[in-house]
């Protein structure tokens, strides 16, 4: 299940990094906001859970667009690092505001489906299967979205924004849509896990590091790489914990370091761009 969530967050992150060349440190906070928006939509507004997912998608996509228009579009002119620092600041403000607004307590949704199924002696809760199915649907939707005119424009801008401009592609439109889509993916991820994991103000920060790991393994700018890496990292994490206990994460980082040494671009991507270029 966790692989599916990593896939959505990492896809959003790598999309923004690839197209706008913004290292969005606030990405995890959109995941957290998505979870809280979905929980609020169900518990406070009484909306059905599928509608709550859509609400979370729209809310986080909108906030992503606001972040672009309000901040990112101005700071990108000042360079890669300045923009990155701005996203750190934005993420911190969002995390603290969430702590103050939603409180420091956890929030939960009742399970959407109950029961378990047994596959080859392994018991899998149905709730987690719903999350996996949801992640697959969203990834499939993203796949088709990238084939639309705006999707192709995003890929073209990611390839070479100057040439893309010469082809009549409006970069500003591409960029804000990219921010909205990238952040919306995180929001959906948060909404999907809400019935199976308790939400908290710190959940965005903790998962972001793992999402970065996924991006590194999959390859920056590669969404298919992110998808592949998400499931590889998710499964490796489970096995590493089983065999190495709390040192499991260390083992994963060592494996990733070895991978990056031999394949700097990850499984399916390119090496990281030199900042500012």
């Amino acid at each position: 299940m966790i692989g599916g969530i990593y896939a959505l967050i990492a896809s959003g992150f790598t999309l923004i990094l690839g197209v706008i060349q913004v290292f969005n440190f606030a990405q995890g906070q959109f995941y957290m906001l998505g979870a809280f928006v979905a929980i609020a939509a169900v518990t406070n507004l009484g909306l059905p859970y599928p509608v709550a997912i859509l609400v979370a998608l729209l809310a986080t996509a909108l906030l992503g667009a606001v972040l672009y228009f309000g901040v990112i579009q101005w700071t990108t002119r000042s360079g890669f690092f300045n923009t990155m620092l701005v996203t750190v600041a934005f993420g911190t403000v969002v995390a603290q505001a969430a702590m103050l607004s939603f409180g420091s307590r956890e929030a939960v949704l009742p399970p959407v489906v109950s029961g378990t199924i047994s596959v080859g002696g392994v018991t899998i809760p149905n709730g987690k299967l719903v999350v996996i199915a949801g992640a697959v649907v969203v990834m499939a939707a993203l796949h088709y979205f990238m084939k639309t005119r705006i999707g192709v424009s995003m890929l073209a801008a990611a390839e070479n924004r100057d040439v893309a401009s010469l082809q009549g592609i409006n970069p500003k439109r591409v960029f804000w849509v990219t921010m909205a889509v990238g952040c919306g993916l995180c929001g959906v991820a948060g909404a999907l896990v809400a019935p199976v994991l308790a939400a908290s103000g710190t959940m965005g920060s903790t998962i972001f590091i793992k999402a970065l790991l996924v991006v590194l393994v999959g390859g920056t700018g590669s969404m298919s790489g992110a998808l592949l890496a998400a499931f590889v990292v998710g499964i490796a994490e489970s096995f590493a914990f089983h065999f190495f206990g709390h040192l499991g994460l260390l083992v994963i980082f060592v494996l990733v370091a070895i991978l990056i040494f031999f394949r700097p671009g990850g499984l399916l991507g390119k090496p990281l761009p030199v900042p500012g270029e």
């Binding site: 505001a97 378990t116 809760p125």
Partner: protein, 454 residues
């Protein structure tokens, strides 16, 4: 930049600040000082000011709650016209500093600001402040430090101004009471599940010793990184060990707690779970995830004193908290214990002199009541400290009956102190200490453990 973008930006900023102000306005009747301090004082007549500092992480539930209580205590003193100490009325200025979460750099900066810039002479109440760093600043500057720690960093016979309150050195009576309960229910084996922090390791090692004293066979603990999101691997490991009891003693993140319990149910674990310290709302969230039947009969530590606490002064403070902040929350009440010790010391000595107050605390022959129960300071002869510097706090137990937390009874200071000594193998040095200085006296409460059990 065009005019419309400027307008949009200004509107967004106003909107953001408005949301922030509304969010803050519910819980924070405070003014913010420069560089991280939050300073609360009501208008008061006294001319003298008593500045007290607290070091907490304002990104944690415990820290935020401590801030509410401590600033409320100052407000109460000030509303009464100030704190009368030795014939002088003092306005109380309780400044809560954000020291980060176990971040040595941030903690050092906060301590330096408090002590070197703001002139704080008493640090009363801490949470995640890196005590090993704190004492490097408080001791040379002769600042009283009353903070939370159970590491060896603050156990130094040469330290003159360090009091460990609230501490968990003598908190194993609570573990023992809980473990005894589950042993009586038929549990024979147990596994502790917790985050892989140093403090948790120390705490869990002691917890396991209490478990063995209570008659449990403690299996190898299972620890997980603090940034764990999916607890299925943890639960699978628990299931493979199949213990009679899973002890979640020190899992402080409530979302972790809910997720672990949910994962345990998902893998089919259906024996006893000790959930640590939870409150009714957390229990409600757990029940939302796993159902009422799964939690029936659980017992655990309970910070909420309502239903057990009989001290009218403490009940009045709880009422005042609810007037100030609405719903009662328990996260901070254990860790604000130092305030009551400090208040007792100042009232008894009628002095604001750090040395006088510290001397009183280091020779205390009695405890004080706190919101979370009776708290008493004890010596640490096992490390050569004959002064009373380490606290044993009282506690409460609950039992889950029909999906509700029902207050069960107190865990006494006597149990806390004596079980801890026995479980940690410290009987010999304490016996020698008692032979020389006399045995401590405890409040007259029913305990499970006595001097004869040592």
């Amino acid at each position: 930049m065009s005019k419309r973008y400027w307008i949009a930006l200004v509107l967004a900023l106003i909107l953001g600040l408005g949301v922030f102000a509304v969010a803050c306005g519910e819980d924070e009747p405070t003014d913010t000082t420069a560089a991280g301090g939050t300073d609360t004082t009501a208008a008061a007549e006294p001319t003298e000011t008593l500045k007290i500092g607290a070091m907490v992480s304002l990104s944690t539930p415990q820290g935020l709650e401590m801030q509410k209580w401590l600033t409320m205590f100052a407000k109460i003193k000030n509303e009464a016209g100030g704190w009368d100490i030795g014939g002088t009325k003092y306005k109380v200025d309780y400044i809560v500093y954000d020291c980060g979460i176990a971040d040595a750099t941030t903690a050092r900066s906060a301590y330096e600001k408090a002590i070197l810039q703001d002139g704080i002479k008493y640090i009363v109440g801490t949470w995640t402040d890196v005590p090993g760093v704190a004492v490097t600043i408080t001791e040379p500057n002769q600042v009283l430090w009353m903070g939370t720690d159970f590491s060896p960093d603050t156990l130094n016979p040469e330290f003159k101004y360090t009091i460990r309150a609230q501490c968990l050195s003598f908190a194993l009576g609570a573990a023992y009471n809980m473990q005894k309960y589950y042993v009586d229910e038929g549990a024979k084996t147990s596994v502790i599940v917790d985050t892989d922090t140093l403090q948790a390791q120390v705490g869990n090692a002691n917890w396991a010793k209490a478990g063995e004293l209570a008659g449990l066979k403690e299996l190898e603990p299972i620890t997980f990184p603090n940034d764990t999101t999916d607890f299925a691997p943890v639960a699978t490991k628990v299931k493979s060990l199949n213990p009679d009891l899973v002890e979640l003693a020190y899992v402080s993140n409530s979302d972790h707690l809910v997720n672990i319990i949910r994962a345990l149910k998902d893998v089919g674990y259906d024996k006893f779970i000790y959930p640590g310290n939870i409150d009714p709302r957390l229990l409600e969230n757990i029940i939302t995830q796993v159902g009422k039947e799964y939690v029936e009969g659980w017992t655990g530590m309970y910070y909420d004193p309502r239903g057990i606490q009989e001290d009218p002064d403490m009940l009045a403070l709880i009422d005042r908290y609810q007037q100030e902040y609405g719903e009662f929350r328990q996260e901070g009440i254990y860790w604000i214990g130092p305030w009551f010790l400090f208040e007792d010391a100042v009232n008894a000595t009628q002095s604001t002199d750090v040395d006088t107050i510290t001397s009183y605390l280091k020779s205390m022959d009695h405890g004080v009541n706190t919101i979370c129960g009776y708290t008493q300071l004890f010596a640490r002869p096992d490390v050569g400290i004959m002064d009373t510097i380490d606290s044993a706090p009282g506690h409460y137990m609950f039992e889950v009956v029909d999906g509700q937390m029902v207050a069960k009874r107190s865990v006494t200071v006597q149990d806390q102190h004596l079980v801890s000594i026995k479980a940690m193998g410290l009987v010999e040095p304490f016996q020698a200490y008692w032979d020389e200085y006399g045995k401590p006296t405890f409040p007259d409460e029913e305990s499970l453990f006595d001097f004869t059990d040592l």
